[in-house]
């Protein structure tokens, strides 16, 4: 599904990613762990095509096709979803309006008719129930005045509505207490399927107790320095990053 080949990327002319190779197959969940500054968030922004993140070498193939020339909205419509580490507040735009625009943009791309307001509302309310979100969040402005946990839940809610084929979770556990973490993780797990893959970016092992990965990668200084099974996360938790990063260097 996703194939990252020798990816080099710069931000403000500074090289952050220095040759990443990564293959994710449908149905797989990959975790990318690493110390602060290793390039984890940069990877998520490069995958989603954010301005200012420049690929200088290598390629990203999604379903066999290079996406480097695609705009962020085109990548999203193709099925790449990023759950933001810091969801953005948008005053004056109701969550429902925002999300219905997104859902219909994705549907249009797939050649489907617009989802009418009634169906949208019904679907949204069902998904919110799963995430234990109050329906009032539909009418509130996007992320405005939401607590940290509510923002993360809102990200997973959007993901559930948009049904992407690749879910990228950027530090989704940050700022969550244990109950919120469980609810969010259950929301993500409910979306796991043989056709859908996930890339879980996290600093801590904690989230991986709930979203159990098939593969764990350790990112350091812009490179994947170690790859292993889910036990690698536990090893990192016990020993810290220092040894593995030092071994790799």
């Amino acid at each position: 599904m996703l194939e990252i080949k020798n990816l080099h990327a710069t931000v403000d002319g500074k090289e952050i990613l220095r040759g990443i190779d990564l293959v994710i197959k449908p149905g797989e969940v990959h975790a990318v762990m690493g110390p602060n500054g290793s390039g984890k968030s940069t990877l998520s922004y490069v995958l989603t095509g954010r301005d200012g993140y420049e690929v200088t070498e290598g390629d990203i193939l999604f379903n066999g096709r290079s996406i480097l020339e695609l705009e962020p909205e085109e990548r999203a419509r193709e099925g790449i979803f990023l759950a933001f580490q810091y969801p953005v507040e948008i005053p004056g735009v109701a969550n429902a309006t925002f999300l219905r625009s997104a859902v219909n943009a994705v549907r249009k791309h797939k050649g489907l008719p617009d989802m009418d307001a009634m169906t949208f509302l019904k679907t949204a309310k069902a998904k919110m129930k799963q995430l234990q979100m109050d329906e009032k969040f539909l009418q509130r402005a996007v992320n405005m005045g939401f607590s940290g946990g509510e923002k993360k839940r809102n990200e997973v809610f959007q993901m559930a509505m948009l049904e992407p084929s690749l879910m990228i979770l950027d530090e989704t556990d940050s700022g969550l207490d244990i109950d919120a973490l469980r609810i969010v993780a259950e929301g993500v797990n409910a979306l796991r399927s043989p056709e859908r893959a996930a890339l879980v970016i996290t600093h801590y092992q904690r989230l991986l107790d709930y979203i159990v990965p098939d593969v764990v990668h350790v990112l350091a200084k812009g490179r994947i320095v170690k790859t292993g099974g889910k036990e690698l996360a536990l090893e990192l938790e016990a020993k810290g990053y220092a040894d593995i990063v030092a071994d790799a260097a």
Binding site: E73, I90, F98
Partner: protein, 433 residues
């Protein structure tokens, strides 16, 4: 062209129209109109030499000869209904070519203690309604209006009268000089909602709409006043409003300017008693070469009053927005709470805003603040939307309507707010096309 021939053409238009203007048969009215015309003739149009007219020029008016509309004119009923901002459940005065169109208007069924009339039928009260603003060049358009006013709204509510339905003034621009004059007087504890809509008649020729509006609120009265200026892109529109707010009264004003070539809405509000409140909000949508101006003077003449001004501007192409927000706090007006905020999105390199707070605070125990922000759309917000599959144009339009919504939300809920919101959405969509 020098100013003299221009004022002469106006004076000539006045001479031609005077015999047919309301109250022409009343000596006091005729004398008042004559004096007002003389005052305008002496001063001419206000210009940039006046501090309050520094950023907005009406000199384009001098490039053509003006006359008053020759006849009553007519507009397709469907167009009138489409332009109406309030549903059928309202009192309504429709003005075409500066005259009441009785067929499209609704004045019946008023509660006891309420008077609602077109100005042309104000009879003996006309001389009062035309009363002057003094010999002040900055407000000279009010004198021109007194000389030429052909119609308008007169609404009086006696003490305690709560008007059951909103009053809508729906005026269509004409390729001529149109003067409407409104008077709204609410007695103690009276309540009303008035909506002024200035709309495009569909005739593309430049017109000049000159409005004067006087509002007096008695103690504890409540007035919600929504104003929409959406004239055609060739139109000149100048309006001056004078509002007096009694003790414990509340004045809530929302102004949307989304049309016209050069348009100015100037509002002077004064607290005439303590414990009163004023919420003044505005939204400017300017594109093409539109020049749209809000000029406010809020006089905290009494203690314990609260005011809030929030004005937002979306300026595209070579549009030009002006916000002048004057606040004066009199020496004895302690415990005044006066807030002001101007926010602007400039969407093009040549888009402009002049935003000028003007605070004169002479009392020492007050809470006053003002702020202004100018910028483009937040790239983080744009990216967040795009990352959800929303295209660039739609993302920008959603963000702009989000920016506008804070002002729209000040419009009373229901079909009026829906109409105002639709007008804003239409404007935003027209930009994406």
């Amino acid at each position: 062209m020098s100013a003299a021939p221009f004022v002469d053409t106006i004076a000539e238009a006045y001479r031609a129209a005077a015999p047919a203007l309301p109250g022409a048969e009343q000596r006091a009215v005729a004398a008042r109109r004559q004096a007002a015309m003389e005052a305008f003739r002496r001063h001419g149009l206000p210009n940039h030499k006046l501090e309050s007219w520094k950023f907005t020029s009406l000199s384009g008016l001098e490039k053509q000869a003006w006359s008053l509309p020759a006849n009553e004119g007519g507009i397709d009923a469907a167009r009138i209904e489409a332009a109406a901002l309030v549903s059928a459940d309202s009192y309504r005065l429709v003005f075409i070519n500066g005259r009441l169109n009785a067929a499209a208007s609704r004045l019946n069924g008023l509660p006891d203690g309420a008077t609602l009339l077109p100005l042309a039928q104000a009879g003996d009260a006309l001389a009062d309604v035309l009363a002057g603003e003094g010999d002040d060049k900055a407000a000279i358009l009010a004198e021109l209006n007194a000389a030429l006013a052909s119609d308008g709204l007169v609404l009086r509510l006696q003490d305690g009268v709560v008007l059951d339905k909103p009053v809508e003034i729906l005026a269509f621009g004409a390729p001529a000089l149109v003067n409407l004059r409104h008077l709204v007087l609410l007695g103690r504890g009276a309540q009303a909602t008035i909506v002024e809509g200035y709309r495009d008649s569909g005739i593309a020729a430049p017109g000049w709409t000159n409005i004067f509006c006087r509002i007096g609120l008695g103690e504890e009265a409540r007035l919600t006043h929504v104003r929409v200026q959406a004239e055609n892109p060739a139109a000149y529109h100048a309006a001056l409003g004078k509002v007096s707010i009694g003790a414990g009264a509340r004045y809530a004003h929302v102004s949307l300017q989304a049309g016209g070539n050069v348009a100015r809405h100037e509002l002077h509000a004064e607290f005439a008693g303590s414990g009163a409140e004023a919420d003044l909000q505005g939204l400017v949508l300017a594109r093409g070469t539109a020049h749209l101006d809000h000029t406010l003077y809020l006089h905290h003449a009494k203690p314990d009053c609260r005011s809030n001004q929030l004005f937002k501007h979306v300026v595209d192409d070579r549009g030009h927005a002006v916000f002048q927000g004057g606040i004066r706090v009199a020496p004895h007006a302690q415990k005044t709470d006066a807030q002001q905020l101007s926010r602007t999105l400039l969407l093009a390199d040549r888009a402009q805003i002049d935003t000028k707070p003007e605070l004169e605070i002479l009392a020492d125990d007050v809470k006053c603040s003002h702020g202004a922000s100018i910028g483009d759309l937040d790239p983080q917000q744009v990216f967040y939307m795009k990352a959800r599959g929303i295209g660039d144009d739609d993302a920008r339009r959603l963000l702009l309507s989000g920016f506008a919504y804070e002002v729209i939300a000040a419009v009373p809920e229901g079909n009026l707010r829906d109409k105002v919101e639709a007008l804003v959405e239409d404007w935003l969509k027209a930009g994406a096309a």
